[in-house]
Each structure stands twice: as structure tokens, then as C-alpha cells.
Assembly symmetry: C2
Homo-oligomer: 167 residues x 2
């Protein structure tokens, strides 16, 4: 089911909607990463993408835990934002010929994904605190910290290796 | 013209493509913000959206300066990411009935936009430094700082006013 078919009346509805949005987004990310792992020629970037794919599976499990703590069924709602970010990533990847430039493009696209998630998990934590859902703040915060760390790692790899090799 | 019709062969091509992507994105943001300014009932959020609309016009001017410094014509390329983020924002806005919950939803959507921009300007600055385009780092950094400040301001407003009023 999608909340797009149900009006969002309360802040709790908005919280649940955002949870379903990021649950859908995480699933789309698990579908997009294997192609990026296959295409990269930089071993450190491949390791980072592979590591983040494992993390994303764990983040989905954490979201299911959050749904459970709220006595809700885990389900997604189409997230046009992540669909757009991933569609753009695929387009750029298909437009790049040189494998070193492709690594730079994929690292950049992955950071756009990370920032979308940082934004959404930040919102979810603020809403959970406001709504008194203190028991779900821990798992949401654990994921937010992972997304921020992934973004920092991609910045470091881009600046120290990937962009240099592509220049 | 769009670089989607031109293969991205070099890191300079990727830099220019990302510049055109964010140039398009900034224009889309100037089209989306007036509707959000009109719909919000929170004076502080309205001020912040209005302030950011003015900033966005200045950010477009800065991008035109960057294109000029690179001896390139300022032009955009369709950015599916921002189109998706804005489409999702519009959908959520249309799904929310209560005006206080709507404010919370719009602040969250605006933060998703800010984070997209933070990601892209971060990439642009890293690429500009790598490519030796040191003369464009200043204007790009000025905008990045504004986007980060806008995101922090929205977090503060959400936590101190908007979410409380919507709960």
C-alpha cells in the first residue's frame, strides 16, 4: 500500500509516510549498488560500495525493527526522489566512456544518494523525538551515522584517489 | 544543449556536466519555492523560504559567473534527481490537509533539496580543485556555505517550532 492514497492528517502520519519512503529508497539502493560494484575499476571504491551494500541490508532490517516497534507492517511507498537520483546516476554512468572518469561519476552519484538519506533520517529522528517514539531513535541514529560515514569516506576516496586518477 | 547528448569523456566534461545539472536544479528550485512560500502558515518558515529564494537567484548568478570564468555558455541539462525530489515534495504537499503538518512536510522536503545541493556543490568544489580551476572555487564555496546554513536553519525551525506546533 502507499500513503499517497491516504491523506496525511497528523504528524504521526507524516512520520510513517517518511518511514515508508526511506524503506522503499533503501530497497532501490540495494538494486542499484551491484551494477556500480561491477562497473568500478578502483579497488577502494569497489570495497566501499560492497561494504555499503551490506550496510544497506542491515539498514532495511533496522527499519523493519522500527516498523515493528510502532506496531506497523513494514511497507514502502514510491519515492520519486530516490527514483530520480538513481535514474540520473544510471544516465551519467551510461554517458561516461573512460573507466577512471566513470569512477569519479559513480562516487559523486553515490554521495547524492547518501545526502538524500542523511536528510530523511535526520527528519525521522526529529519527528520520532517530537512524537515521543523514543524507542526508535536508536536504530534510526545508527543508520544516520553510517550514511554520514559513507559520505565522508566517498569524499576522502574522491579527493585522494579517484579524481586524481581521472584527471 | 544537454551533455546527455554528448559522451562524458574527461573529468572536465564531468565537471561541466555537473555544473549544468545544478544550474538546471537551481532554476527548478526558484519555480518551486513561491508555492511553498504561499502555502506555509509559519512566519519564520515563510521568511526562511523567501530568504532562500533570494539566495537561489544569487546562486544562479554565481553559476553564470563560474561558466563565464571557464569560457563556457551558461546552460542547463535536465536533472532527474531534482525533478524527482521536487515531484515528491509536491505530492506530499498535496497529500497533507492540516496546515501545521504541511509546514513540517515542507520543511522536510526543503531539507531534501538542500542536501542534494550540498552533495553537488561538494563534488563541484573537489573537481574544480583537482582540475586546477581555482578561480571558481570561491563562488562555489560561497553557495555551498549558504546551502549548509539553510539546512541548519530548517533543522532549528523544525525542532524548536514547526514539529512542536504540528504534534
Amino acid at each position: 500500500m502507499g500513503l499517497f492514497t491516504t491523506p496525511i492528517k497528523t504528524l504521526d502520519d507524516l512520520f510513517l509516510h517518511t518511514l515508508k519512503d526511506i524503506y522503499y529508497a533503501e530497497h532501490q539502493i540495494t538494486k542499484a549498488l551491484p551494477n556500480m560494484i561491477e562497473k568500478t575499476t578502483n579497488p577502494s571504491l569497489r570495497d566501499e560500495f560492497s561494504h555499503h551494500l551490506q550496510e544497506t541490508h542491515e539498514q532495511i532490517r533496522r527499519l523493519e525493527q522500527v516498523f515493528g516497534l510502532l506496531n506497523e507492517q513494514a511497507s514502502g511507498v514510491t519515492c520519486e526522489a530516490i527514483d530520480g537520483i538513481i535514474a540520473e546516476a544510471k544516465q551519467v554512468i551510461s554517458d561516461v566512456g573512460d573507466p577512471k572518469v566513470l569512477d569519479a561519476a559513480m562516487a559523486s552519484s553515490a554521495q547524492a544518494v547518501e545526502h538524500y538519506e542523511i536528510s530523511r533520517y535526520g527528519t525521522l529522528i526529529a519527528l520520532a523525538k517530537q512524537l515521543g517514539h523514543t524507542n526508535v531513535v536508536g536504530p534510526l541514529k545508527a543508520t544516520l551515522d553510517e550514511e554520514k560515514a559513507a559520505d565522508r569516506k566517498l569524499t576522502e576516496l574522491s579527493e585522494t584517489q579517484i579524481n586524481r586518477q581521472a584527471a
